[in-house]
């Protein structure tokens, strides 16, 4: 044994093995995105370009939900920025665990940062440094699956016609409810395990605040303002509902 570290080839193989199940699971979601985007009125090419250029599922689904004509550019960009702001914290956490990256590899490689590639890299970092070979293997398989399944879903969507006929218009809502529940479960794992009911109830406050304020603003002012108003209400709700640190309480 002269090598103390796995080779680049072994790192790349580990990366592909880690991401493959995630990429397979992403195929039907991306196809659904493609079908719903063309049902909304985006062309097949525009839909595929969005998956390639934005490459962030939650923000893409939200964008298609609030998309209208004339295009509400500000609301779309603001909603995308807000939903993806979580990437900032992922980058802060992951950056110190990277080994052997050039500045250019970070700037280019982090285009591929997703919830999935981040969590796989964090898991890898528990016992190995995260090398460029591992990172690029993990992160390039997923966009390939995401973009090509979006394209196929968009083609299928143009053939299927009006999604409301099969209740497929509700797929967005169901998907978002599922994602919201997922975020909520991960953030409140300790509370749920300990069965602390008051704390679990309090953790719902931001989500309810956002939903109620957004619905009211939607009725009174119309889209797209409900997204920003609801998001703001939810963020304020989270700030108020969270327990203060001892030093916060003292000041």
């Amino acid at each position: 044994m002269t090598e103390t570290r796995p080779s680049a080839r072994a790192d790349a193989l580990a990366g592909v093995r880690a991401i493959l199940p995630v990429a397979i699971a992403a195929v039907p979601i991306a196809a659904l995105f493609g079908a719903l985007a063309v049902a909304k009125g985006l062309s097949v090419l525009e839909t595929t370009l969005m998956s390639l250029i934005v490459f962030a599922g939650g923000a893409q689904f939200a964008a298609v939900e609030i998309w209208s004509w004339p295009v509400p550019v500000f609301a779309l960009v603001a909603s995308t920025l807000l939903i993806n702001s979580r990437h900032v914290l992922m980058g802060i956490s992951l950056a110190p665990k990277l080994r052997g990256f050039s500045r250019r590899q970070i700037l280019g490689g982090f285009y591929f940062l997703t919830d999935e590639s981040w969590s796989l890299a964090e898991a890898r970092a528990l016992h190995h440094p995260v090398t460029p070979a591992f990172w690029f293997a993990v992160s390039t398989v997923l966009p390939f699956a995401w973009v090509s399944a979006t394209f196929l879903g968009a083609i299928a969507g143009t053939l299927l016609g009006d999604p409301a006929r099969f209740g497929a218009d509700f797929a967005f809502t169901a998907l978002f409810v599922g994602l919201i529940a997922g975020f909520w479960k991960v953030r409140n794992r300790d509370i749920l395990l300990a069965r602390k009911l008051p704390a679990a109830g309090r953790s719902l406050i931001p989500i309810l605040a956002s939903g109620i304020v957004a619905a009211i603003v939607y009725v009174l002012a119309g889209p797209p303002w409900h997204v920003l108003a609801g998001a703001l209400a939810g963020i304020v709700g989270a700030y108020i509902a969270a327990p203060a640190l001892p030093k916060d309480a003292a000041s």
Partner: protein
């Protein structure tokens, strides 16, 4: 296979802000430490934005949609994402037929 210039510009702007969120953390590492209420507020952003996006359908469209969203929320605590979507779609079709 058409591309509207405003749509393309919007998609590029969305891609640009997304990429900025992805690289921002590598510059901030070791400099920005969020804790307590500020961290809770930041952590809450993705779910509350998604909730605001679906709020019109969930609360202001019809009783069938509101009930189906509730069914979906319960399903989401137990089932994986694709099964949750299926439960939501099937329940909205049934509820639209009966209420």
């Amino acid at each position: 296979m058409t591309v509207d210039p405003v749509t393309l510009a919007t998609i590029i702007a969305m891609g640009l802000v997304t990429w900025l969120t992805r690289i921002a953390g590598t510059f901030l590492a070791g400099r920005l430490v969020l804790e307590g209420r500020a961290k809770a507020a930041f952590d809450a952003i993705p779910p509350v934005v998604l909730m605001a996006v679906v709020a019109p359908t969930v609360f202001a469209t019809g009783i069938a949609e509101t009930l189906a969203a509730l069914v979906t929320a319960v399903a989401a605590t137990r089932l994986p994402l694709l099964a949750t979507i299926l439960v939501g779609v099937v329940s909205v079709v049934i509820l639209r037929a009966i209420v």
